[in-house]
């Protein structure tokens, strides 16, 4: 349990990204929206590959993105920007309802998949996964 902290965190993220159905994961800095880690997303920046949780991203791309390529795997930056603005908007909405409240979990179901967004004081976790087969 008490191993080096970054390794642990990476292991947890890798676990998550390797769960069946998970297409991509994304860790953002809460304040700026800067991308800390991604997996399963194409990034325009070359350093993104180093950032992604390998080899999870490969697997998720190959195994779970079947037939989704044409629908477009967005670039990590796009997803980060869109999600971040969405979380900000949700935050203002909640602030408007109750000044002392804040968002804890956002689940967005779409026709194609589901986004699970876990906002926190300093970071944001985004998991995009297939909806349960129905």
């Amino acid at each position: 349990m008490a191993q080096s902290a970054p390794d642990d965190a990476l292991a947890l993220l890798t676990r998550l990204s390797q769960k069946p159905g998970v297409q991509s994961t994304l860790v953002l800095a809460r304040e700026t929206g800067a991308i800390v880690r991604t997996s399963g997303l194409i990034s325009t920046s070359s350093t993104a590959n180093a950032n992604s949780t390998q080899p999870a991203s490969d697997n998720t791309l190959e195994n779970y993105a079947n037939g989704r390529k044409e629908s477009g795997i967005n670039s990590a930056e796009d997803v980060a920007r869109l999600v971040w603005t969405f979380v900000e908007a949700a935050g203002t909405m909640i602030q408007g309802l109750d000044g002392e409240d804040e968002a804890k979990l956002l689940r967005v179901r779409t026709k194609k998949n589901e986004l699970v967004i876990v906002p926190d004081a300093k970071f944001l976790l985004v998991v995009i996964h297939d909806t349960p087969p129905a």
Binding site: G33, E77, W84, E88, T92, L105, V116, V118, V127, T131
Partner: protein, 684 residues
């Protein structure tokens, strides 16, 4: 004050005066230079188109000297042919490192010579070179002074240094120079401060305006401030090594995994695809038809490759407060000597592959349970004799020091008895020592009791494998031993009986070590709290009716008594654990060495189990099961675990568990059965 210091002071004063004089002169000169620069520019304009021939040059020289010489007595560097008489101050100023040179002068000085002629430019060029060359080492001292006196200085200030170099004095005047510089520095600081103040004010103003703006403005602002970028490696490393980051990842991935493991689709539309569902239902109904409410269904298996492989489950317990949490303790993994020997994992029904919490210890954990009075505490007993308390809130660990005042042998059994306000941990080790601990203080046991085998025995030593407290009395308990006998024990001295094993009574019947003891959890109209279930290595489970401790005193004259079991349930394998259902009076579950879990209902049948289930396969071998535990609130789920380290949770049908449909006939039925069995035993 000594004369040397005074002389020096005088000298300094004199120098200061001289410096002031120099400064005044310099100011004068800078004015003149400014004026002459304009002149020179004009002259250059005039001169430039002319061809540069010798006669022209002479004319030009005279022109320049006419134009410039009469105005400036000292500072025209181009006028080398006729040094002005007023240049007495020049050598001094050269020594003093070109302090006369204004920051703006070098470019203008360099410019005209290029226009005029090379011969003219030689002298001023040397002077020009001198100034920065002299000041070069000065830059360092100056920087140092600034850095040490004001370390917080913003970086942009350093860029200003280069401008400042021109005004530097040689090293022998350094203190004074730095004084003057620091004055200038102070002025600049003031300026900087004002700038910063202005910026802050603007920001504040902007911040005040922002809430006033409507939401669209905010979103656009957010858009603008968003930086779609990926952190560099250094930034990322810094972020990732922060404790915040780890805590966040731990928490958020847990949330996400729970969410992913949720089987039920909240958006499910039953109107669509109703055909397929109907088919599924049909299958299920067919499978369950024969069993009705006695169905046993596997709902979850908990296993973690990293931690659970090659470990055995040593104990299982459900959380009394959160029914979805299950605790499992594990023995050591022999193939991983660097991992901690003892392991406890708290599993969540909604997250199958990852434990909510993981706790470790240096020694194998043999038994563990949640404290029923503090749901955040987990109490465990270790192979080395330690009793440990883990707190799920801050993940802290408390353990008793390994001293002779506590246990020195493996603790295979412990319990938490008492009430909400006064409870103790009672632990029992295989050398017969029973200790009572306060949960807040594990430094030494509150009570220490040594169990010994009563007289008609070869040896006094007693090796209890398990203890069990009746639900109603925290001062009296049963201890199952390795020899197969169950002894009643008192924690305290009573009327007619000393603390320790009650010598007058023993429960004999098992021929092999007792693996578990369980008092009936009475939660119904009839008190069945004296029923005890024991499992043993002799392939059997026995039901006992324990004698109340008060009755023993009355029969004390009749000598040692032996109680026999009401009934024995003979199985075809070693029975490692047997537990009463917390809600159904006649139901109990047992696990055996064959790897199966069986559910019995005394009201229905005492010969065969009502249901038997085997955890779904994870490997080619059938692995024996060590422990079984009921979910205490509703009694609908049981968790079993064994040699392969997998914890499997079964959900039982309505007849075996669940709060609804518990009929009072069941209680009377058990009571009647016990009465009948008792009659049969006594009549024998």
């Amino acid at each position: 004050m000594d004369p040397a210091a005074k002389a020096r002071k005088d000298e300094i004063a004199a120098k200061r005066a001289k410096l002031a004089e120099l400064k005044r002169q310099r100011e004068l000169r800078t004015q003149e230079v400014d004026a002459s620069r304009q002149q020179a520019a004009e002259a250059a304009q005039l001169v430039a188109p002319r061809p540069s021939r010798a006669d022209h040059r002479r004319e030009l020289d005279s022109l320049i000297s006419n134009l410039v010489g009469n105005r400036s007595s000292s500072t025209d560097p181009r006028d080398t042919s006729s040094p002005a008489p007023g240049r007495a101050s020049r050598p001094i100023s050269v020594v003093s490192g070109g302090e006369n040179v204004d920051p703006s002068t070098p470019p203008t000085q360099a410019h005209p010579p290029a226009v005029v002629e090379q011969t003219l430019s030689i002298a001023p060029l040397t002077i020009l070179y001198e100034a920065p060359a002299d000041s070069q080492p000065e830059t360092v001292t100056y920087n140092r002074a600034v850095q040490t006196s004001e370390p917080w200085e913003p970086q942009r200030d350093r860029s200003l240094d280069s401008d400042d170099d021109y005004g530097l004095t040689p090293s022998k005047k350094t203190p004074r120079a730095s004084k003057r510089l620091s004055r200038r520095e102070r002025e600049r600081d003031e300026e900087l401060r004002q700038n910063i103040r202005k910026e802050v004010e603007e920001e504040l103003k902007a911040a005040r305006q922002l809430p006033a703006d409507d939401s669209t403005a905010i979103t656009t602002a957010a858009h603008e401030s968003f930086s779609a970028r990926i952190l560099t490696d250094e930034e990322r490393n810094a972020e990732e090594s922060s404790a915040d980051y780890l805590a966040f990842i731990e928490r958020s991935t847990k949330v996400a995994e729970r969410e992913l493991d949720e089987q039920f689709d909240v958006l499910k539309d039953y109107a669509v695809k109703s055909l397929e569902d109907a088919e599924d239902e049909g299958d299920e109904a067919g499978a369950a038809r024969g069993k009705k409410g006695r169905r046993v269904r596997e709902v979850a298996q908990f296993f973690d490759e990293r931690w659970c492989s090659k470990r055995c489950v040593s104990d299982i317990a459900f959380s009394p407060k959160f029914p979805e949490l299950t605790l499992a303790s594990y023995t050591r993994n022999n193939s991983a000597p660097h991992d901690p020997d003892g392991l406890i994992q708290v599993w969540n029904m909604h997250m199958h592959n990852r434990p909510e919490y993981t706790f470790t210890s240096q020694s194998d954990i043999l038994t563990a349970k949640f404290s029923p009075f503090h749901p955040n505490y987990i109490i465990g007993g270790c192979y080395n004799g330690q009793v440990m308390v883990w707190d799920t809130r801050d993940r802290s660990t408390a353990r008793d020091p390994l001293t002779s005042s506590g246990h020195t042998h493996p603790v295979y059994s412990l319990d938490i008895v008492g009430t909400q306000n006064a409870n103790n941990i009672i632990s029992c080790s295989t050398d017969g020592v029973v200790c009572s601990w306060s949960i807040g203080m594990l430094t030494q046991p509150q009570e220490y009791l040594e169990l010994t085998t009563p007289p008609p025995a070869k040896t006094e030593d007693m090796a209890p494998t398990c203890i069990a407290f009746p639900k109603s009395d925290p001062t009296y308990f049963l201890a199952g031993t390795e020899e197969g006998t169950i002894y009643p024990c008192h924690r305290y001295d009573r009327a007619g009986a000393k603390a320790g094993v009650d010598a007058r009574l023993s429960y004999r019947g098992h021929a092999a070590p007792i693996m578990s003891l369980d008092f009936h959890p009475t939660r119904g109209p009839i008190d069945l709290g004296d029923l005890v279930l024991s499992s043993s290595m002799d392939w059997g489970v026995r039901l006992w009716k324990s004698r109340p401790p008060a009755a023993n005193a009355a029969n004390s004259v009749s000598g040692p008594q032996t109680v026999t079991s009401l009934i024995e349930f003979v199985r075809e394998d070693v029975v490692y654990d047997a537990r009463w259902s917390p809600v159904k009076p006649g139901v109990f579950a047992l696990v055996d060495g064959g790897g199966g879990v069986e559910f019995w209902d005394l009201n229905r049948d005492v010969e065969v189990p009502v249901a038997r289930a085997v955890p779904s396969d994870r490997g080619p071998l059938k692995r024996s099961l060590n422990k079984v535990a009921w979910e205490p609130q509703e009694g609908r789920r049981t968790a079993v675990g064994g040699l392969d380290g997998v914890v499997t949770v079964f959900e039982v049908g309505a007849e075996l568990g669940g709060l609804e449909g518990v009929r009072s006939e069941e209680w009377t039925g058990v009571k009647r059965l016990v009465g009948r069995l008792e009659g049969a035993v006594n009549g024998r």
